[in-house]
Amino acid sequence: MASESVSSHLIRCPVCEAVNVDTGDNVRCRRCGTHIPHPRQSYIRTWALLLTAMILWVPANLFPILRIHTIMGHVDNTVVGGVIALWDDGSYLIALVILVASVIIPILKFIVLLYLLINSRFPVRHRRHVRHRLYTLIEIIGAWSMVDIFVVTALSGMVTFDTFQIVAGTGATAYVLMVFFTLAAALVFDPRLIARHYRTQKPYRHRKASDHGIG
């Protein structure tokens, strides 16, 4: 039944979930026909997307995501500033939701993906199931980081009075791109990089260039 030796030669198709024989390169799913690239392609693409997201995280948190115009002038809110403002208003639950969705989840995704990528190069033998769970977790909760952007969209769409106006801030663009790249990084990450049978192979940089698929 569920034996390790069998599952190390089989992979689940990321598109249709069918079980396929893992021949390394050029796996074509027997059910949906999707081309499943070698994990080394996923490795380098995940790094690229993750680093882009981490760079964008800086302006996304430094610049205001929201600007509130009132008759007294205007106030800028950064992501963290918005959480603090909600907390001061007494909306503790909502403040916590925003804190988790916009601050904790992106950082958690960075840490987990960094850990998984580094781990695929410098393997530790134990806790493979924990790593799988961590990956599933960030895949499921990742999209909730978009909450802040949608709140800004709703607020700036509703509050357009002459004396009271809310508009998006410069950080919003960086934030939306940051979330896009973290989501893409988690989608591109190949769970086979977690599995045991890839850890014993040579690091990918020592492979010849001819091993690469083109495109």
Partner: protein, 212 residues
Amino acid sequence: MMHKKAHDDLSKYVMCDRCNSLYRKVQLPAGKRARCKKCGAILYRYDPAYLDRALALALSGIIFFVLANLFPLIRVGLWGKEHTLTLFSAISVLEGGGFYIVAIGVTLLVLVIPLLVIVDYAVLILLLKLGKRPEMARRLLVSLSHLIPWSMVDIFTVSVLIALVKLSGKVTIHFGVAFWALVIYAGIDLYLTRARRIGTLWEIYERRYHGQ
């Protein structure tokens, strides 16, 4: 290309999407589901009425989605003046303020991709029920699994509520008919795309067109 024997053997197996444990499938009684022994995730289920239910839900989903976009979601008032929020107005405000990337992102995540998902789903279920056009059904299934991670209507609905909490006490708030349509649509979307896995549809596809 693999020959028929190996193909049949592999389709008897299922791999847990949370922890990658491998299991051999068994015939379940109607309405039951199989769970992973290691992590408790649902592996597969046998739900003979799924196609009928999914078709009804997908068609009503399209109707509610159109309603949610035609009418105002929220009406806010301040000192006798009123403004309404529709999805289109919110996006055009962003676009008017020069936030083109944010506007494009919101349009795709809340408008375009959810619409594609629900129409794709409805057409797919129709094809599966009729048992016609296997190649088109396969393409619809593949695009569905690429689209689903980028459909965020559920998150948008929660965000509108959070925005209202932020405004509470500062303006008067009335819920529009479109808001309730959006909530119902989000519920249907959650059931069809998150509570039921794409693998379920692929299994129906295999039974329909390959007679397994």
